[in-house]
Amino acid sequence: MTEVQDPQRIQTETPDLEITLPARAENVAVVRHAVGGLGEVLEVDDQTLSDIKLAVTEACTNVVVHAYPGGEGPMGLRASIDDRRLLLVVTDRGRGIVPRPDSPGLGLGLPLIATLAESLELGTGRLEETEVRMTFDLGTPGSTGGFV
């Protein structure tokens, strides 16, 4: 993982894409599929897109499993694109990222995201949302699709 000097730089007032839906297991695939559409338009190569989709899937799965114990709430994805660099922010309004001794998972989600993404930040947004912020270097455009 490479340190990005200023990850905030990519964040715009209005992201290029924002999706909000209930934090249910079935909706992780919806977000993943939407990211696939994003990658197609941005002409992202298959390997990079696969990494991006896996990272987003892990972040969204964390929301579904950990954010709302015993209940349900919103899960969001924001995407901002700046000169072949993609910032993805997965958000929730749950209890925040806290240690969980009774976690049903292996605890590999965030380390995996950190490995796949160019940078990873965990924090709280302006609306007190829990945020997982990931940046990806999209490389040079591939040979399919087109983004204006």
Partner: protein, 132 residues
Amino acid sequence: MSDAATTNEAVVHVRSGPLVGAVLGRVVGMLAARAQCPIDRLDDAILLTDAVAAHAPVHARNSHVHVVVAADDERLELRVGQLRPDGARRLLADGDLPGVGNVFDRVADDVQTGTGADGETGELVLRLNFRS
């Protein structure tokens, strides 16, 4: 779309341009499929989505297209919001195809134009029933 227990709802806010069709089509397709939408109606849903993606950016109040997609066991609903005050009517009119008629009217079971919850922006509501 009142039963929260069975309704799945996605709010999509996407910058006008090629992202609209690519993302919106996938979200609508996934939600409709999850709601056990019959295959012929899934085609209709994608047709409506393509028409929205093609014409909504022109009538959006700002640089983004805003769509709420809701699906349950009975129907799919697209609420195309944050349009200019006259945008819903104009978007509906853009669905006219020579010799075919209006694609929104012909494909959707219910079409309504109105204003959004803020009372200022236009909203086009399209409903597609899964069963006749």
